[in-house]
């Protein structure tokens, strides 16, 4: 096939030639974890779109939450001689041998969304992930700014107990409000990252805090719990977004609907676009040999009601969330 020949030629041409022209025909294999959440599905959709934008041939292998499937997929990508491999690792350990095989085949590996065990640091090119401590911090800083010095009692809906994302988002938020003595967390319970539990926990918070009168803001570790909490506030006769401020993390489409209706105030985005920066890093590496930093942190963008939530909703609703 002509395509294979070009690939072969580009491999043989070496450093003397600029391979920028070949970037248009880059082939990347992506071992995706599966589709365990809406965010994961959106990540796959966005990866395809980003690949198309850059004229990259993206091959996606769905591992269905199994590491052995991911290892198989990586071996098959190596056998096919792809230009780069993207890996969203389902677990942190056990990657050394397969990543060595990729290294021996001179195929750069980029980790997406999650990191692996430190022992394998030299085995991959870079990791593109979000910093969940930073996400919590952005949320906390927004609240401090919005409270503007007035006393503000916050109730917190935590993620699943023991989940690293929950621990980090809690810590980040606490860091964010650390400098403001007027903002303090008065209640904190787990809502297991789900709408139903978020609603149930918020119902109890409202009753325990004098019908919600002493609550100034809700902070939820994800948007789904906040969607449930918003319903609980409405059923209790409170006006979420006005009586009680809301800030949550993830930026799923439904929270933008609530923001457009004035029922939610802010959300911090966990971007599904991990592949975009990864493509750019690989292309720069292939073209000019630019070695990217070991960690590329994605932007944790804050959205408020001022950011035209309905337009964001329209752009996100078909991504597969």
């Amino acid at each position: 096939m002509n395509f294979k020949a070009v690939l072969l030629a580009s491999a043989l041409s070496g450093a003397l030639f600029s391979v920028g022209a070949n970037a248009a025909e880059l082939t990347v294999g992506f071992s995706q974890i599966g589709s365990e959440s809406g965010w994961r599905a959106a990540e796959t959709t966005v990866s395809k779109a980003e690949a198309k934008k850059r004229n990259v041939n993206l091959k996606i292998a769905d591992a269905q939450q199994k590491q052995e499937n991911q290892i198989k997929a990586i071996r098959s990508f190596i056998a096919q001689g792809v230009d780069a491999i993207f890996l969203a690792p389902v677990v942190a350990t056990g990657w050394d041998s397969v990543l060595k095989e990729a290294k021996e085949a001179s195929i750069p590996v980029v980790l997406l969304d999650r990191d692996i065990d430190p022992s394998g640091k030299e085995l991959y090119l870079t990791a593109v992930t979000s910093d969940s401590v930073h996400e919590g911090k952005v949320a906390g800083e927004w609240l401090v700014k919005t409270a503007a010095g007035k006393p503000c009692n916050v109730v917190e809906l935590q993620g699943t107990v023991g989940a690293s994302v929950a621990t980090n988002r809690k810590k980040g938020f606490e860091d964010g409000i650390a400098g403001a003595s007027n903002v303090k967390i008065v209640r904190s319970q787990t809502g297991d990252f789900t709408r139903a539990k978020g609603k149930e926990v918020m119902e109890s918070f409202i009753k325990a805090e004098g019908g919600g009168k002493t609550i100034c803001a809700v902070y939820a570790h994800n948007d789904d719990m906040m969607v449930g909490a918003i319903q609980a506030m409405k059923e209790a006769g409170l006006k979420p977004g006005t009586d009680i401020l809301t800030v949550s993390i993830d930026a799923v489409p439904d929270i933008f609907k609530a923001m457009a209706a004035g029922e939610a105030n802010a959300t911090v985005e966990l971007t599904p676009n991990m592949a975009g920066p990864a493509f750019d890093a690989v292309m720069a590496f292939k073209a000019k040999g630019t070695v990217p930093p070991k960690w590329i942190q994605t932007e944790s963008k804050l959205y408020t009601q001022a950011d035209n939530p309905m337009a964001v909703y329209e752009s996100k609703k078909d991504l597969g969330y």
Binding site: S35, E36, S37, G38, A41, Q158, V161, R187, S188, Q189, T190, D192, T194, R195, A196, K197, K199, E200, V201, E203, S204, F205, K207, A208, G210, D224, V227, G228, Q231, E235, A236, G237, D254, G320, Y321
Partner: protein, 331 residues
């Protein structure tokens, strides 16, 4: 109609009262009830409202357990039926939506009953199949995302109220009454107890044990379907990954707390519902208490252990499933 009053039940009622009293101690406004938009509003109402899905599940589960069976699939059936209801809600009328979801629940129950009564597979294995596969089916229906809907009719089943009481509570009470009438108002209850106590002797005595077994699993499926509809209506969406997750265990626990033995035979429908309320009263109390979430499960374990120990024959209570186990180990 011979509605039998429960002969046992003192320990369950005492436990419920003690937990409610403890809730009052940690949160003095626990018994405050006011009207909010024509709907009763207060922590006590929350206990009833949040307890409704598990109470519904326990209505089916108690009969299954009385037949010496167990139904692990009810949580997954909730997810399937919630997914069906939410997917159809905005394009079809309420009777179609409910009909489809309830029919799916009955079909799931029929499948379980077929595996247990006709193929003779052990109940725990037979229903494990649907427990695992069912959540996958629900995810297929929702395509892995949370399917939301706007239909006010369906939303009414979760967030509405009838005479001030939240609709889920009214639904659970209606199902309780219906179950009591069907089971205790006829000889069916006696046949279930007989089959659970000794299936062979009951079959020889002329009881259609196979038919009753299938019917009981179908009833469990129907109750689970209703619980699934309530759960979806509550959050205005179907969350296939989380709807009804682990609720089969809460339902089994409610039945056991209610004094029904896992070895089949004698059962109490009302006390199973009281068991569900005990579990929910405890959950609500933990949320109100302000304890750190890391302690949630420990507190629950201690309370459940205390309730079950109070029923243990060795400690002067009545025989519960776990009570029997304990006494056998010690003997």
């Amino acid at each position: 109609m011979a509605l039998r009053l429960p002969r046992i039940g003192t320990s369950q009622i005492v436990a419920l009262v003690l937990i409610l009293a403890a809730n009052w101690l940690v949160s003095p406004q626990f018994f405050d009830i006011r009207l909010q938009d024509g709907r009763l509003f207060g922590s006590l109402i929350d206990v009833l409202n949040r307890g409704a899905p598990v109470a519904l599940l326990s209505l089916g589960m108690v009969l299954v357990i009385a037949m010496r069976g167990i139904d692990l699939s009810v949580g997954a059936i909730m997810a399937i039926c919630g997914a069906i209801a939410a997917s159809l809600a905005d394009s079809h009328s309420l009777p179609v939506v409910l009909g489809a979801a309830l029919a799916a629940g009955l079909a799931c129950g029929l499948w379980n009953g077929f595996l247990v009564a006709v193929l003779g597979i052990q109940p725990i294995v037979a229903t494990l199949i649907l427990m695992v596969a069912g959540r996958g089916i629900a995810q297929l229906i929702t395509e892995g995302r949370i399917v939301t809907f706007n239909s006010p009719e369906l939303a009414f089943l979760g967030g509405g109220s009838v005479l001030g009481l939240p609709t889920p509570v009214v639904l659970a009470l209606s199902m309780l009454a219906l179950t009591l009438i069907i089971v205790r108002g006829t000889a069916l209850g006696l046949m279930i107890e007989a089959t659970g106590g000794n299936p062979r002797a009951s079959a020889l005595a002329g009881i259609g044990t196979r038919l009753i077994t299938v019917a009981v699993y179908m009833w469990s499926g129907l109750c689970a379907a209703l619980a699934g509809i309530v759960a979806a209506a509550d959050i205005l969406g179907a969350d296939a990954n989380n709807a009804g997750l682990w609720l089969e265990l809460d339902a089994i626990l409610a039945v056991v707390i209610g004094g029904t033995s896992l070895f089949g035979g004698r059962f109490s429908i009302i006390l199973a519902v009281v068991g569900a309320l005990i579990i929910q009263a405890m959950n609500t109390g933990i949320l109100l208490s302000g304890l750190p979430p890391e302690t949630n499960l420990v507190v629950k374990a201690v309370v459940v252990l205390a309730v079950l120990l109070a029923q243990s024959p060795k400690l002067g209570g009545h025989a519960a499933g776990l009570g029997v186990l304990f006494s056998r180990k010690k003997a």
